[in-house]
């Protein structure tokens, strides 16, 4: 039988389950499918690991020792983790499934889970993680560019983003319109934007608080 070449996956899978055997065998199965896997038998272990920046998802047992997977999901969100979560549960009862989904769980798999459902769920998780990574990248980029501005330039930038005319900005800041024009030119240059619309988009991307990344 010809060996099949398994394509390497760019998605890193974190597995948390209080049963080491489960962590181990799921790890083997996922590795066999080309994923990079890191297994943990408790949420604390996972939290002790340095934040991971790349594409990732979390495979989380719903019934952990002394703790519900739903509470762990909650906790992670509060700490700023934004990676998609796929739940694994011994029994899928309606209330906990509903709650998990409401709180942003991507999928809800019932143990014992077989390979196809698992891979399918991970594929969906990858798509979501990718979208989220892109978003974060944009935010980071915007923040970096805005950081290049001087204090005065930043003021002018914000007022432009609010839709004020040069004349109004001059009045607001108590400077001449010509000065405003000079600042504005520098802002456009530093932010590498060529239109007011692009500038507004960039500033608004910086707006959502970067809370999730603070914990990482």
């Amino acid at each position: 039988v010809a060996g099949r070449i398994v394509t390497a996956q760019d998605l890193r899978v974190f597995v948390i389950d209080d049963e080491p055997l489960v962590v181990e065998t799921l790890g083997l199965l996922l590795r066999a499918n080309g994923f990079v896997v890191e297994g943990f038998t408790s949420p604390a272990e996972f939290l002790a690991r340095p934040p991971y920046d790349g594409l990732a998802c979390l495979l989380l047992d719903l019934r952990l020792k002394g703790q519900s997977g739903l509470d762990v999901q909650d906790d992670l969100r509060r700490r700023g983790y934004s990676l998609p979560v796929v739940f694994l549960s011994g029994q899928g009862d309606v209330p906990s499934t509903a709650r998990a989904m409401r709180e942003g769980a991507l999928d809800f798999l019932v143990k014992p889970v077989d390979e196809p459902q698992l891979l399918e769920a991970l594929a969906r998780a990858r798509t979501k993680a990718l979208a989220r990574q892109l978003e974060e990248r944009k935010q980071r980029d915007a923040a970096e560019r805005l950081a290049r501005l001087t204090k005065r330039e930043r003021e002018v930038c914000d007022l432009v983003a609010r839709g004020l005319l040069n004349k109004q900005i001059a009045y607001e800041l108590g400077v001449s319109e010509d000065t405003v024009k000079v600042h504005r030119g520098r802002v456009m240059h530093k932010l590498q934007v060529d239109s007011v619309a692009a500038l507004v988009r960039l500033v608004s991307q910086d707006r959502p608080a970067r809370a999730p990344s603070q914990g990482q």
């Binding site: 398994v6 055997l21 065998t25 083997l28 019934r63 143990k111 014992p112």
Partner: protein
């Protein structure tokens, strides 16, 4: 009879003879009084005054007075010669007749009497009713009597008090004598200060009504005196006042007694009868020898008098009338007329009412009692049967005839055995025997085929006198039906709780079993992947994991069984006998429907055990039901279930449930307590397993033994409360 008859006339004669001398024995000196009235005899006040005088003067039988009355009609015959003719008439008429006292009523009469006193009645004392102006100074002349002027001012005062908004008073008065009008005006001087007084100056009677009619509102008319004396067309003041009152648009008042009734409202008047009787009384004093000089003139007060019809006509507030007013012409009310009839009638009605009320109350009470009794009888779905001790029907009672299937003559006088089916009659007779042998009232349940289908009855039988028995029979079909339903529900509940217990057990193992299952599946899949990519090392690792997981699954199941077995028990102090009796009661219907005879033999003085009553009930019910089921094939008449309690060892109580059913297959005793073992088609196979778990959780033991004769005995022990659980007994499985 005969001898009595002559006596009566003799007595009557004697009485006559007796009476005669007494009448003539004291001849009295008859004195004479002569009254001179003014105006004609029919002048309204004259008969009143005269009658009053006459009544007083003749009131004393011991001093009779001859009383004569004459009438000076100078008002109608004012000519001097008419007066002289009257004088001569009196002179001739009373010539030779001693007059002891002369009564002169009114001023004109007094003036006449005084004027001709020497010719007519020389030296005779005079008692007069005169105006005050004429009174007092005459005392020295042997004249006394009563005085009183017309109370015109007081009348106007009274009228004003009744009509506060009055602005004017029109006075109707006629010149009578010289200075008369001036006198009236002087008397009314005070009234003139309070209200505008106008004297009607119309001189003729026919003109008067027109004048009166023109009187404006908010006025009053005070009628003093007015008459017409044209010869041939005479009108007394009485008629004039009537005319005036008729024409007047405002209330008319007057101060003359006799005017009240003609249409005037009323006034302050001197009452004619009082004048008459007072004069009479004074005259009597004079006749008795008192000198007139010694009797001072007396003032006759005026009193308020009203015509009720006028009071009502003018809408006068009755409460304004002065207290003590004399009210005339009032239609007496029914109350006044028939007061006592009314009181009597009311009393009668009241008495009747009370009687009727009492009867009604009594009747309603009786009805209430009757209704209650009848309600009780009807509410009592019992039939009462009276039987002889031999079982012969004597009598019966029922609230509802339809409850008795048979007609009375079909069973009265017959024997139980002729009326009831054989088994029922036998059961009755068996109870009778027990009852007669001195035991407590017996109870019996039986079923009969009726037109309604099978119905169930309960009979309570008690001795009734020395020769009879009373059976109170109650139809308990519905109750039984309800009990059966309850039993079904209880059964379902027990089943449900068993299933719930299983469900929990299942759930608790499910999660733990799924973990190794997950590992097995994932490991196997991984092995397949690795094998297909040639990674044998990883494949081996995966398969080794699968193996581990398989073992883990078995461990999980085993651990859970252990967990379930040593499930902690809530322990409360319990009397094991109580638990047994409760469980037996709960299984009552089942025992009955299984036609099983239950006997309990419970040891006394057993120690209190510690346990969960519900769980122990479950164990006992389980054993009882198993026993009953085991006796399915046993002859119905000989199915016996015996529950005993005993002290197994100090600190341990033993309960045994013994049946005479199919008994145990020796092989079964090894497996019967395992989870899935059952010989019943409908059984879940968990009954004994769970029972054993429960007993063991209580620190006791459950086992089964084959009886030497027939059937099996299931026993379990429970340690007493506080007693140390026996050293872990080996688990018999």
């Amino acid at each position: 009879m005969r001898s009595l008859t002559p006596v009566v006339p003799a007595v009557a004669l004697l009485a006559l003879v007796w009476d005669c001398p007494s009448a003539s024995a004291q001849p009295r000196s008859v004195r004479t009084a002569l009254a001179v009235h003014w105006s004609s005899e029919d002048y309204p006040s004259n008969p009143v005054v005269d009658a009053a005088i006459r009544q007083v003067l003749q009131s004393r039988d011991e001093a009779p007075v001859d009383y004569f009355a004459e009438y000076l009609e100078s008002d109608r015959f004012p000519d001097e010669h008419a007066t002289l003719a009257f004088r001569d008439y009196l002179q001739r008429k009373y010539q030779g007749r001693r007059i002891d006292v002369v009564l002169a009523i009114t001023d004109p009469a007094l003036q006449f009497v005084l004027k001709y006193r020497d010719q007519l009645f020389p030296g005779v004392p005079i008692v007069a009713s005169a105006s005050s102006t004429l009174g007092a100074h005459l005392a020295a002349d042997g004249v006394t009597g009563v005085t009183g002027r017309a109370a015109d001012a007081e009348t106007i005062e009274l009228a004003l008090s009744l009509h506060p908004s009055t602005q004017r008073v029109f006075v109707v008065v006629q010149k009578l004598t010289d200075g008369y009008l001036e006198g009236v005006q002087a008397a009314l001087a005070k009234s003139a200060e309070r209200v505008e007084l106008r004297f009607i100056q119309e001189g003729s009677v026919p003109g008067l009504p027109a004048v009166v009619r023109a009187v404006p509102a908010n006025s009053l008319i005070h009628f003093i005196r007015f008459s017409r004396e044209d010869p041939g067309n005479v009108m007394f003041p009485l008629e004039v006042v009537r005319m005036v009152a008729e024409a007047s648009p405002v209330p008319v008042y007057a101060s003359t007694d006799s005017f009240v009734g003609t249409g005037v409202v009323g006034g302050m008047v001197r009452l004619a009868p009082r004048i008459g009787s007072r004069i009479g009384e004074i005259a009597l004093q004079v006749l008795d020898g008192r000198r007139p000089q010694d009797i001072p003139f007396e003032q006759m007060p005026a009193a308020p008098v009203f015509d009720w019809r006028q009071v009502q006509r003018w809408g006068i507030d009755r409460s304004l009338l002065p207290p003590g007013s004399e009210i005339r012409y009032r239609e007496p009310t029914a109350w006044e007329l028939y007061r006592w009839y009314i009181v009597g009638a009311l009393a009668l009605v009241a008495v009747q009412g009370v009687t009727i009320a009492a009867l009604v109350v009594q009747r309603s009470r009786r009805r209430e009692v009757e209704a209650r009794n009848s309600a009780m009888l009807h509410a009592m779905p019992d039939a009462m049967l009276l039987l002889t001790r031999d079982g012969m029907f004597v009598d019966y009672h029922t609230s509802d005839k339809s409850r008795i299937e048979a007609k009375p003559d079909e069973f009265c006088g017959r024997h139980l055995r002729e009326v009831f089916p054989r088994e029922v009659a036998a059961a009755f007779e068996e109870r009778f025997v027990r009852l007669v042998s001195g035991q407590v009232p017996a109870r019996l349940e039986y079923a009969l085929q009726t037109s309604d289908g099978e119905r169930q009855y309960e009979a309570r039988i008690a001795a009734c006198g020395d020769h009879h028995l009373l059976a109170v029979v109650r139809d308990i079909t519905e109750r039984k039906h309800a009990e059966r339903q309850l039993y079904t529900l209880q059964n379902q509940l027990a089943q449900a709780s068993r299933l719930t217990a299983l469900g929990e057990f299942a759930a608790s193992i499910a999660h733990e079993v799924r973990q190794p299952l997950t590992a097995i599946i994932a490991g196997a899949r991984a092995a397949l992947r690795f094998l297909s990519s040639g990674s044998t090392t990883e494949a081996r690792e995966s398969l080794s994991n699968v193996l581990d997981a398989g073992k883990r699954a078995d461990e999980v199941i085993e651990r859970n069984r252990e967990l379930f077995r040593s499930h902690t028990v809530r322990k409360e102090p319990l009397d094991i006998n109580r638990v047994v009796l409760d469980a037996a009661a709960m299984a009552g219907l089942r025992i009955e429907s299984g036609r099983v005879a239950l006997t309990t033999s419970l040891a006394e003085g057993l120690p209190t055990i510690g346990g969960d009553p519900i769980q122990l009930h479950q164990v006992l019910l389980n054993l009882i039901v198993n026993a009953i089921d085991a006796m399915d094939t046993t002859d119905a008449a000989s199915r016996r279930l015996e529950i005993t309690t005993a002290l197994a060892s100090p600190g341990t109580v033993q309960v045994s449930v013994r049946d005479n059913g199919v008994g145990l297959d020796p092989v079964d005793t090894q497996q019967m307590f395992t989870l899935s073992y059952t010989t019943k088609e409908a059984g879940t196979g968990v009954g004994l397993s769970i029972s054993r778990s429960i007993v063991e959780a209580h620190g006791g033991r459950l086992w089964a033994e084959q009886n030497p004769t027939r059937g099996a005995t299931f026993s379990f022990t429970v340690p007493a409360l506080g007693a140390l659980p026996p050293a872990l007994e080996p688990v018999a499985s």
